[in-house]
């Protein structure tokens, strides 16, 4: 063992954190510029759009649009607006929603909390179901449970979240009257959107874990441990679990993007006031600071999730302490 080839956990975590920090800065810049460019390219006059949001369709008139244009400096050249906005964002000021007049940071904080609540509970439920099912079907490939999870994964991926959510509402809210349909004001509203999101994720997770279980149990080191005379259970827990974990977590981390994609649709269906809901609405009303805030938040979440995934892998990887 040569000392210089040993890289400590701390150094490796620092390297990962450093790489992600660079990624974070780049993503921020790219998302900001792209958002701004796309909003500029969208059809329709921005001032009229914002006036429609603020005053409603009964009151959107040319006068209202002119007032908006003057107030927001929309008559400035695009590049000046961009510089102004980047300057403010860098100093930590996300600006004020053009439609509601509330600070973007305040609104985002609220939406982010709701999205976290929904995303984490879905992730938790998906893991609770997906991991054991995946392991069990991996230990018996081709068995009943294995075929069942395959069918379920295909069905869950083929059925859009929107459809599945509606079905859940029809059964559990309208016919059985067990849970509320939408909103986040009362108890029980979290359940149906969580199940809608978790269903697809759990199936996928089960498939990934199953494939890894098959791969690991077929590996030489695993079989060697069995030949050595260790009991199947202790081989699985000592030599299998961590190895399965590394690939599964990496893969599952990548699938988390499905969650972000899912919240946009699911939040809208269940009137769940999270980031996805806010993004859709701000695009519709051309609420530029909100669009930029939401998109930035989502980009940061993505970088954040990748970082957490990397660090989690590092923590459980049996090879982690050596290069």
């Amino acid at each position: 063992m040569i000392a210089s080839s040993v890289i400590t956990m701390g150094a490796l975590s620092r390297r990962i954190a450093g790489q992600r920090l660079v990624q974070f800065v780049l993503v921020t810049l790219v998302v900001c510029s792209l958002c701004f460019l796309i909003v500029q390219q969208l059809p329709g006059d921005v001032a009229f759009r914002i006036a429609a949001g603020r005053y409603g369709y009964d009151y959107v008139t040319a006068d209202a649009a002119e007032a908006v244009r003057r107030e927001l400096g929309l008559d400035l050249p695009a590049w000046q607006q961009f510089v102004r906005w980047v300057g403010r964002t860098l100093s930590g000021d996300f600006g004020v929603s053009l439609v509601t007049g509330v600070g973007v940071a305040t609104e985002l904080g609220e939406h982010l909390r709701n999205t976290f609540e929904l995303a984490l509970s879905s992730l938790f439920l998906a893991m609770l179901v997906g991991l054991p099912v995946g392991v069990l079907s991996g230990l018996r490939p081709g068995g009943g449970l294995d075929r069942l999870t395959l069918a379920w994964t295909v069905a869950a991926r083929a059925l859009p979240a929107f459809m599945f959510g509606l079905l859940l509402i029809l059964v559990f809210s309208v016919h059985l009257e067990w849970f509320p349909v939408a909103g986040n004001e009362e108890g029980g509203t979290l359940l149906l959107p969580t199940i809608t999101l978790a269903a697809g994720l759990a199936g996928l997770m089960a498939r990934i874990v199953r494939d890894n279980v098959i791969q690991v149990t077929a590996s030489e080191y695993y079989r060697f441990a069995l030949y050595k005379g260790l009991s199947p259970a202790s081989v699985f827990f000592r030599h299998g679990l961590r190895n399965i974990g590394v690939t599964s977590i990496t893969y599952a981390g990548m699938q988390l993007i499905l969650l972000l994609e899912g919240v946009v649709v699911v939040e809208s269906l269940f009137a769940w006031p999270g980031l996805g809901h806010a993004l859709v609405h701000s695009v519709f009303w051309r609420d530029v600071p909100m669009i930029q805030g939401c998109a930035l938040m989502m980009a940061w979440l993505f970088v954040g999730m990748n970082t957490v995934t990397d660090l989690a892998c590092l923590a459980i990887d049996p090879r982690g302490r050596r290069e």
């Binding site: 009229f48 409603g56 007049g101 108890g187």
Partner: protein, 509 residues
């Protein structure tokens, strides 16, 4: 790790708040609708707070558009009709406990005048406080002033509501309900305000949730999650009606679905072209199939419930595609090889802009597209944002625009009509069309005519609009809401000014 900690905290909070809710005597009355709480400024989304009876203005209106005292208990105009005196209620308080004063009213109205809104229509010289009354001086007589002061943009808010620049930072108003929780743009909870000047309402608290999807709203009504649900599509109304625990309450609004013509467009500038388009449209079929409500087929611009403006003695708009074809032929249009009419080498093609905020508009637009295709007019339907109609009006690119025009923005439809059909036309009214007869009649109506004169002026306006067709009336509008049978006293306000919460009661079990 901190995420997990957060979710535990959130879960704990949720449990605590549910327990707290259970501990309360009665759950709030739950209203669900499509409208988002966009702005708290009276000039923006003020009507939202008038509907929830949080904010009030000097003048109020009943469901028949008759003006009644609001924060002003009476008002009168001077002999020269240039000065109006509004006498305020002595027992009105703001939600922060401070009493309402004439200075507060003047401040709110002055701020309203600086923002876009209907109050700009009035020829106001000065607003001042005098011995506890509010005096509004005008540069010329204007009979509509009290109606304008019933509009949501003239709500009276407490001094503490405004930031230094006149922007509204908080709604501290005078109504029977005050805001206890506000989460823009989605939800609001209001509770009874015990120092309100009127009779204490029966309902303690009311929550409103904005749900953007019509199917989610219908399901909330069906499942009993919502007590009152607005913005149901016609198909859902039929389904919800079958549910025993829910009833459908309806009212005809002073609102008409209409197509706005660009009367300067080469193909539309001839009145016979507009008449031909009108004759080509089967309004009865369209309202029956799409609105499930054939009575709403418009035979003229104003619905029968607008008694002052609806005239049963004018010839109704008819469906007669044969006559439409003849009129178009007389204008020189000849069918081309693909069935589309041609004149001077150009096809009869138009773009119809509309928007999805009112869910029935896009299907109606496609039905019109189909019906006009049958007489040889090719229509392209463009579904975008409501603002594309006023924007197209302003830059001249609009050809056809369809919306649901509300004539009761203020209790007197005249204010809207002056805007829409005055000599310059209006964003939601005539485009490149004006009629000296209509302009003069509208102007005279604004200067306090006698009843007989007013009737004659209104007749001129209605007759002229019916024969010249600057806009094409398609359907009148019935608003429906699904209401739980646990509630009684639910009446819909045709002016869409108020949910009339103070009139509702929970049914005794």
């Amino acid at each position: 790790m901190s995420f997990t900690f957060n979710s535990v905290r959130i879960a704990a909070l949720a449990v605590c708040s549910s327990i707290a809710m259970l501990a309360q005597a009665a759950p709030p009355l739950k209203i669900v609708g499509p409208w988002e709480i966009h702005s708290i400024d009276p000039a923006g989304n003020g009507v939202f707070f008038t509907r929830l009876q949080v904010a009030e203005s000097l003048v109020d209106a009943d469901t028949k558009s008759v003006l009644r005292p609001g924060l002003a208990e009476s008002w009168k105009v001077s002999a020269d009709k240039l000065s109006w005196r509004f006498v305020l209620r002595k027992n009105a308080f703001f939600h922060d406990g401070s009493p309402l004063t004439a200075q507060d009213v003047v401040r709110s109205l002055e701020i309203a005048r600086k923002k876009p809104g209907v109050i700009k229509t009035a020829p106001i010289k000065q607003i001042s406080a005098q011995k506890g009354d509010v005096i509004v001086e005008l540069t010329k007589p204007f009979a509509l002033l009290p109606a304008l002061l019933a509009h949501a943009s003239t709500q009276i808010l407490a001094p503490a509501s405004y930031a230094a620049d006149g922007n509204v930072k908080q709604v501290i108003a005078t109504g029977p309900y005050r805001i206890s929780q506000l989460a823009q743009p989605q939800s609001i909870l209001v509770e009874r305000f015990d120092k309100w000047w009127g009779k204490a309402p029966d309902i303690d608290a009311v929550s409103y949730l904005s749900v953007s999807r019509a199917e989610s709203r219908a399901l909330m009504a069906e499942s009993g999650q919502a007590d009152i649900t607005f913005g149901l599509d016609p198909v859902s109304v039929g389904r919800v009606r079958q549910k025993g625990s829910v009833q459908i309450v309806s009212v005809t609004l002073p609102r008409t679905i209409l197509v706005k013509f660009n009367a300067a467009h080469a193909a539309l500038k001839d009145v016979d072209a507009r008449r031909a388009i009108s004759l080509a449209i089967d309004r009865a079929g369209l309202t029956k199939a799409l609105l499930r409500d054939p009575e709403m087929a418009a035979t003229q611009l104003f619905p029968p419930t607008m008694a002052d403006w609806h005239r049963s003695d004018i010839p109704p708009l008819k469906h007669d595609p044969k006559q439409a074809v003849q009129l178009l032929a007389a204008l020189g249009w000849k069918p081309g090889s693909d069935g589309v009419l041609m004149r001077d080498g150009k096809p009869f093609e138009l773009t119809l802009r509309t928007f999805p905020d009112r869910p029935e508009l896009p299907p109606i637009a496609t039905a019109i597209q189909d019906q006009l295709r049958k007489v040889g007019i090719a229509v392209r339907v463009s579904i975008g944002n409501s603002s594309e109609i006023p924007a197209g009006h302003r830059d001249g690119t609009l050809e056809l625009g369809m919306g649901a025009r509300n004539f009761a923005l203020v209790p007197d439809p005249l204010v809207t009509l002056i805007d829409d059909y005055g000599d310059k036309g209006g964003d939601w009214g005539a485009m490149n069309w004006s009629s000296p007869v209509v302009t003069t009649a509208l102007q005279r109506l604004a200067v306090d005519p006698t009843d007989n004169e007013a009737r004659a002026h209104r007749a001129q306006v209605v007759t002229q609009l019916q024969s010249e067709l600057p806009v094409l009336p398609i359907a009148w509008y019935r608003q429906s809401a699904a209401v739980t049978r646990k509630l009684e006293g639910v009446v819909l306000d045709p002016l869409e000014r108020s949910y009339l919460l103070t009139e509702m009661r929970w049914r005794k079990p």
